[in-house]
Each structure stands twice: as structure tokens, then as C-alpha cells.
Amino acid sequence: MLKFDHVTKQFGELAAIDDVTFEVKPGIITAVIGPNGAGKSTLVNMAAGSYGVTSGRILVGDTELQKLPKYRIAHAGLSRTYQNIRLFDGMSVVKNLEVALVPPRVGSLIANTFGLSGRAAAEERRARCHAVLERLGLAAYAERQAGSLAYGQQKLVELARAIVAEPRVLLLDEPAAGLNHGETEQLKQHILALRAPDLAMVLIEHDMKLIMSISDTIVVMNRGRVLAQGTASEIRTNTEVQEAYLGQPGAIKDIEAAARGRRNRVRIREGEGLTWHQP
């Protein structure tokens, strides 16, 4: 569904993403992991059109996303959440969702404004938003100002906004960051419930417990490259991953640096491979 095809991203001399190729399949949850600076967020930002691509192609179906202006990427069926919440704070929760359903053609927008057309469609859009809010347990907050909600609820509203247009690809950029244990558990249930045959989900996360428990496949990145891909147990025992992390002194520093800045601890024991766990 979502395909990175020999994608490279240079920031000056630095190749943040270096010839990355992998495919995200519909119906499953694909996690992308790796230490800070591995290029996970760069990948998401390129797919969503926030960064340009130096070379290579990013495809949703047959559509080449890197050729589209940013707003068209949403219409191509890709939507995302942000690492740092980016809601429309001054607007009500339901209006936040309606933004994702605004008709793409400006002509029809103007016609709607004059009441010439689209009344029924507007009602339907509103109903869709309420249905999604209901589904994520946010119905009570529909008319509240998005910026006034608690952090965890804002994260959920962002998720709601990302799914209301029924995307084919959903990019979740650290959805659990800053959530407490209960909220993370709730989020996990929502994400699992979203799994659908025609939806490809990409999860970028540092919470290894969450990743190991819900991902169908895991892509490990390091220094802009894909190191390995496989199921949770395959990744845990993958010798390449172990070698890369344990065999190079520099890589260990990367991991440790990543661990220091996070709530997660990285523990490396010989023979055990790589495990992250919650403190």
C-alpha cells in the first residue's frame, strides 16, 4: 500500500535517509523503530509532504507522493498524527475533524457557502465526525475547544482527525509519547481496533512494550538505513540487529543516548540481544 522505493534524503552533507526501500502492507501494523536520529521521523515527514525527497519514490498505490503538493497527499489517502500534538486549538473538537473532510474543490466550497449545494453532504460529514468521536470515546468533548482538553485526550482527537477521512495509509508518529500507563493501554486498544484489511498502519514509537505487543511487522532503522525487518520475535533474535547494535561501539552510544533522553531504558546483555523496557 505504502512503498518507499530507494528513497534518499540529504540534509546538506548528511544523508538522513540513505537508499531506503520497504513496503507497508495493508491490514497490518508496521512499526518503525531505531535510535534517535535513525531517520524514522524524516521518513514520516517525507511521506506526508513536509520534507522533499532527494531521490527515490514514495508510492501509495500507483500515486507518487513525492510529486504531489502537500495538501494533495491527504487526498491520495495518507494521513498522519504528529509527534508534538498539532491540533487546531481554538476550534471545537468536532470542527477539528471536519477540517479533514473539507471538500477539495474550491468551487464547491464557494457554492456551499452560498447555500447552493452540499447541505446534505455537510450534514453527512458532521455525522461522520461524530461517529468517529463516538468510536474513540470522545463524544462528550465534541463541542469543547480542542486546546482546552487534557493531553491524552488531545492525542486521541488527533488520532480521530487522522482517521475520519478513512485514509488508506495512517502514519502514527509517537502516539504514546507522554501518555501514562492507562492511556497507553487505551490507545493500544484503539489502534488494534483500527486494523482493517484496506488500511496500512505505520507506527513510530519508543515504547517497546507497546510495539512488541501490537506490531505485525517491525522495521529496524539505524543511521538512515533499514537494518532489518520482521516480526517481533525475529527482530529480538536477529543477529544482524544484534551485531549492528553490539558490534559497533558507535552504535551503542547511539542507543544509550537515545535511552537517556527517553522514559524507556535500553538494556543490552550479551546473548539476549536488544530489549527495551519501561522503567
Binding site: R72, F88, V99, V106, L109
Partner: protein, 337 residues
Amino acid sequence: MENPARRASTPPVAATRKLWPGALAMLAVPVLLLIVGPHLPAYPLRILDMILLYAILGLGLNIIVGYAGLLDLGYVAFYAIGAYSWALLASGQFDIHLPFALVLLTGASLAGFAGILLGIPVLRLRGDYLAIVTLGFGEIIRVLMNNLDGVTNGPQGIARIDEAHLFGWTLSTPDDFLYLLVGMLVVVFLFVWRIQASALGTALSAVREDQDAARGCGINTTRVKLVAFAFSAFIGGACGVVFAAMQRFVSPESFTFWESLVIVLVIVVGGLGNPFGALLGATLLILLPELLRAYADYRLLFYGMALVIIILARPRGLIARQFGPSWLMRRLGGGKC
């Protein structure tokens, strides 16, 4: 934490469409104006006309500044384009005498077109930078009017402008203009309210709140902003035509930066993005200097002080954004909107 079940049980879209008390409450204002207005003496009536004119200008500017969050400090340019349209197309200047309705449409459209022309180069700008460019645009139009002697008669301005006739009705006294302005106010008010409540308004709000995230949600921010500029400028232009018809004299002096500032103040003091705010703001900003006339030299001092106090006391304006017409309708049970 609230109990989600409690509020979730009420249907999301209120389906009650009984008495429209909300609509009636809003309708009371223009009706009252039409009843009381004509009985006022000439001087207060003239002030009332100016209040209405600035209220309409405020409603128009609100589309750009209040809804889309783009600070436009050169709104007077569109007003000037409208005013000079009537002055040039219905006067002895070139001996052209077009009907008022036609010029109202032409002048407003010209202004709307100018709005798009201004919009294109400033699409990438926001905040301070946008404000400076629009301010420059306002000045350019004024300086142009001042220097195109052959066309606009330069600083002397254009006098002997035709009396306006609208479908056989002569517009000459302040009474006549009161009727016209109240009519325009109602139309423009309904229009900007529709914008706010429609998908276009949702898109504009998203642009205001976080342009990048709006793009990520599929909003064509470029187009949407241009539409906002065009609509806003169109209303400004229409006001200009009426202003010229009312004064029957235009000169560049009427279109200084001060005018742009007053219109911005109308909506900032009244409440950004709130149509009610524009009405209240215009009332206050036009009435206040008149009430302070007795203090002659200190007038502007008191005027400024009053504005500072208002903004300090109510930083989001006298009526905050969310308490707009849609809110009133919900509160009074006027059906869905």
C-alpha cells in the same frame, strides 16, 4: 472528568426548529434601526450611517483577519477602489453616468479582483511581514489616486458625483442611505455568517490555527486564502461605492492608513472573528470620537486611552469569537445552523 455518557445522549445536531427565537432576536436590530433611524435628527442619523458603513467594512475585513488570521493593514485600498469606481463611472469627470446597481457590482468586483492580485504575492507571508506588505499596498493605492491627476483629479479629488438611483429609488438623504446600509448589513452579515458556518469557514479557521497541519489535512491553503481575500475585498469595494455615493465627493485624503487602522480596530475591539463583534466595535469606534468632541484637543488622547483600557480588560475583544450568531441560535433554540 465528565461523564461521557451524559452529553453523548443528546443528539449531535439539534433538530428543533420551532420558533426561531434566535433569528428573531437578530432580526430585531435591523428592524429597530429602520423604525427609529428615520426619526433621528440629521447629525445622529449621519453618525448612524457611518456606524453601519464601518460595521459592514468590519464584517468584510473579518474574513481575512478574523477567520483566516491574516493581518491586513491595507483594507482601505479596496474601499478606495470601490469609491473611485463610483466617482469615475458616475460623474462629470469623464462624463460617464452608469447606474448605481451596475457600479456597485463593478466596483466591488474590481476590488475583489484587486484582492486576488494582492493575495497572490503575499501568499507565503504571515504575521508582521504580511501586515507590512498589505500596509504598503494600501499606501500604493492612495498615492496612485493622489498622483494620477489626469484620471482621478489628484489631491483635489472628484466632486459633482451623480446622485445614486437604485431601481427608481433616489438615494440622496441620510434616510435613504440608512435603508440601503441596513439592507447591505443584513446581506453581508448573513454572508459572513454562512462563511463561518460552512466548510469554507472551517478551512479558513484551520489556516488560522495551523497552516501546515491544515495542508496536512488536505486543505488547499493557497486557494482558500485567495477566496478569503477576494470576498473580503469585494465587501470593502461595495462599501466604497456606497461611501462615494453618500459623500458625492472623493479625494485621496479619505483613504489614509488611519482608515485601515480604524477598521482593524473595529474588529479587534469588537472581537476578532465574531460578526457581532464587528457591529459593536463599529458602534464604539465611531460613536466614541463623536462623544468626545467636547474635549477638542484631548479627543484623540481619550480615544486612545479608552481603546487601551478595553483591550487590556478584554484581550479577546468585547465579544469573544465563539459567541457568534451560531452560538446565539443554539442558545435561544433557533434551529440548526
